[in-house]
Amino acid sequence: MSEEYELTQEQIKARDRRSKAIGLGLLVFVVLVFVVTVFRKMQELGLEPTG
């Protein structure tokens, strides 16, 4: 059984901001992995100069 307590307005605001930051972080990570995959594949196929 867990104890329940009400969050203060400050805690609710902080939680919302943390949730948004986590969401943004995950989005950035997914985009980066996608971009890396695309560029590596293009290099493998000789479609992109190495630099």
């Binding site: 805690q11 890396v36 630099g51």
Partner: protein
Amino acid sequence: MTDLTTNQAVQPGIALPSDYVALLKPRVMSLVVFTALVGLVAAPGAMHPVLALISIFAIALGGGAAGALNMWFDADIDAKMQRTCRRPIPAGRIGRNDALAFGLFLSFVSILLLGAAANYFAALFLAFTIFFYVVIYSMGLKRRTPQNIVIGGAAGAFPPMIGWAAATGSFDANAVLLFSIIFLWTPPHFWALALYKRSDYAAAGIPMMPVVKGAASTRLQILVYAILVTVLGIVPVFTGLGGALYAAVSVLSGGLFLFLAVRVVLSRAGDDPGPGQAELYQVKKGDKAARDLFAFSIMYLFILFGALLVEHGTGSHSPLPIAFLQGLI
């Protein structure tokens, strides 16, 4: 560290994203990003700019992860020092366990990302760097020996080698040279800070050089390392890594670095063991020479590595002629 599970002083749920950013030590991260970028750009290999940018981001993330893990482990001593007591863990905004999880997660992500964007040799080296900073330096050396930042300084010196490895998949003598410059730069940089924050380190029980060996011995050792780093700072001109711009910059800024180190030796910086000021650049009477050296040492590294970045990044790099260099010797 006294207690791994301490979360009692934490006010639950008030941490903001900015508190987690502070855990990454952004100021240290900026140096990591910059030196890694120089390593990557100065290396002979060529990387696609997009993959290079993502690699630098991954290295920055790894550096931040190491910072978070360091703050997790050092929370007890951070709470005792004026300079660090407002960090998110001692201030009670983030729990220790949360910082540990955050640091481990970011370490994992950064290593994976660097492996994918560059190569797994660089990724393994990033993993080793995080391990070195957290386990060898923070857990092993920091609280045990006044040589803590001499040996531990290697962790801060690895980023240009990681950048180099990301671009080439290996190291060569010039990569080691970049490492060595930062390695020798670290003691005078941190000991200058420790001279004017001596009471802070003493209160926290950290055996920094001024606390253990005294201010006079530290001032002398600062000069020795300043001479070494100034000389080594010019060596890239002879290995072909640095060109004319680098030669001029390394001689001029090295001269100023040496001048400020001599000024520290001649000063009484650190002699007064009384309480210092809370802010990073605030000093009490008599410690100004140490503060000036600390501040300039950061600029020195930026100038030195900046010259390499300009030369290699703009394609204007051309090694000085051998005959000219032989004439100098």
